[in-house]
């Protein structure tokens, strides 16, 4: 195809948006409403996902060393734990630090233990993959000089199950919403094209090839998608930015953290634009196809 013809297609597709202004309005509204829904949902789901990740990453193993072990032995154990496959991080707390923590939690009565501290040093261990916590804990438990290895056995499995389930539910909901959006939008586009079925028939009768007929419609689909995704992109970007600047400072030390505005907003916008364009093109393509058999 000549570049000149492509230029004609672009011009025609833009003209057609104006000439079929009501249909354009209907399609763009459908794209806007559904993408807004999808976008808001994605923002919520991604942030909940982030919360789930944080919860998972917060899972740690506490290794209480044998109180009888001397400093050398504890250090060696620390080294051994650090070298265990699947361990990402080990924090060493001396028995005095442990006692301080207990005093903070349980009260000053425990001060009298300062004379003779019955506790052992503790190692706080994080697994590279939180789902393998139990495995890592079991391994560490087999080492010498460990007195007790605690990691919330039973509870973290439940936590992981709940988190996985909520992730899956979120994914299913997003997919369901996406499908609904695709059908809603492609149906609206189909209606606009059905109204122009005669036009397509005439084009074919004067000798237009399928490609020649199709390209302006597909381009129109692109414009509809782009136009329809503008409002959702702006609304979601502005609202999320406001939400982030207002709430994030208050969430400083919480497990729940909002995702950083960049690149998150850009990613969401890119996704919305892509979906708008894809749905527009797909809707046009499928709808025109029916009328090309003249």
């Amino acid at each position: 195809m000549k570049a000149r013809t492509m230029g004609r297609h672009v011009r025609e597709s833009l003209k057609s948006l104006g000439r079929n202004s009501w249909m354009t309005f209907a399609s763009v509204s459908a794209v806007t409403v559904t993408l807004l829904l999808v976008g808001v949902f994605i923002v919520i789901m991604m942030n909940l996902n982030q919360l789930a990740d944080n919860l998972e990453n917060d899972v740690e193993i506490k290794v209480i060393t044998d109180p009888a072990a001397d400093a050398e032995a504890v250090k060696a154990l620390g080294e051994q734990v650090r070298n265990t496959p699947g361990v990402s991080e080990v924090v060493h707390a001396t028995k005095d630090e442990e006692l301080e923590t207990m005093i903070k939690s349980f009260g000053d009565e425990l001060n009298l233990y300062k004379q003779s501290n019955p506790l052992g040093d503790a190692l706080y261990v994080k697994a590279t993959d939180p789902h393998k916590t139990a495995e890592v804990a079991k391994k560490i438990d087999s080492y010498d000089y460990t007195y007790q290895v605690v990691y919330g056995e039973g509870k973290i499995e439940k936590l992981f199950n709940v988190l996985n389930m909520s992730r899956n539910i979120g994914l299913v909901l997003i997919l369901a919403l996406l499908f609904t959006a695709m059908f809603l939008i492609s149906n609206t586009i189909r209606l606009t094209i059905v109204a122009r079925g005669r036009e397509i028939e005439i084009m074919k009768l004067v000798g237009a090839t399928n490609g020649f007929v199709r390209i302006p419609f597909v381009l129109e689909g692109i414009w509809l998608g782009v136009l329809g995704s503008i409002i959702p992109m702006v609304v979601i970007s502005v609202s999320y930015y406001k939400l982030y600047t207002q709430w994030q400072p208050k969430l400083q030390n919480e497990l729940f953290q909002l995702l950083n505005t960049t690149p998150f907003i850009l990613q969401v916008n890119g996704l919305l634009l892509f979906m708008g364009v894809f749905i527009g093109v797909w809707g046009s393509f499928m709808s025109v196809r029916k009328f090309l058999r003249v």
């Binding site: 195809m1 013809t5 005439i202």
Partner: protein
């Protein structure tokens, strides 16, 4: 120019619209196709520009066999043939000029050539003054002239017209016929299905009568010859 050999056409609902048609139309001829409604006239015409395909037999137009033509090639066939419809089939959202230019855009003609050819052909059908008007602002006769302009702007070898005066009053019909005569005088073959007895009997040309899916009469300088 146009050859039909043993052409049969049976529709899925069982109607037989062509039951062994054999005909030959030479270059530069002007042919009326007449016959009662439902006799297979429209099918006869539609098969020539491949809106319908024959069930059996060959249709050869300027050396191209439509029966074996792949659907991908159909647009290229249609560019060789100008078609004029009873209901004009103009694009309602394009103005007169754009409707005619469309047939040239399809073949990727240069803008300069498009301007020249469209203006020439609009002058021929007498619509230069109405080039910027839209189909719904024109009378039936004017719309039909646009349709004719579009059909001949590519300078096709054949113009096929399916009841081009069917929707027009007598005076307008004569005007349209004058234009067809002019086109024919330039050497273009014209095949016209019509119900207009007066036209057929006045402007004498070859007459092909289609009845019951068969050619029952084929006369040079013929007459309408039956009561419709």
């Amino acid at each position: 120019m146009i050859v039909m050999k043993d052409v049969y056409k049976k529709y899925p609902n069982g109607v037989v619209a062509a039951n062994g048609i054999n005909v030959e139309i030479g270059r530069g001829e002007f042919v009326y196709v007449v016959g009662p409604s439902g006799a297979g006239k429209s099918t006869f015409i539609k098969m020539m520009y491949r809106e319908e395909s024959p069930t059996k037999g060959d249709i050869i137009i300027d050396g191209i066999n439509l029966a074996t033509l792949r659907s991908k090639r159909v647009p290229y066939l249609r560019r060789q043939i100008g078609v004029v419809f009873q209901d004009f089939k103009l694009l309602p959202k394009l103005n007169v000029y754009e409707n005619v230019a469309f047939a040239l855009e399809v073949i990727e003609e240069s803008p300069k050539q498009i301007r020249k050819k469209v203006n020439d052909v609009l002058a021929l059908v007498g619509l230069t003054q109405k080039a910027r008007m839209f189909p719904n602002e024109l009378s039936g006769g004017e719309q039909q002239r646009v349709s004719i302009a579009r059909s001949i702007v590519n300078v096709p070898k054949v113009v096929i017209a399916d009841e081009p005066t069917g929707n027009l009053d007598p005076d307008t019909s004569w005007e349209i016929m004058k234009i067809f005569e002019q086109i024919n005088a330039r050497g273009t073959t014209i095949v016209m299905a019509t119900h207009n007895k007066e036209i057929v009997n006045t402007i004498r040309h070859r007459v092909i009568v289609v009845e019951g899916g068969l050619i029952t009469r084929d006369e040079f300088e013929g007459v309408y010859g039956y009561e419709s």
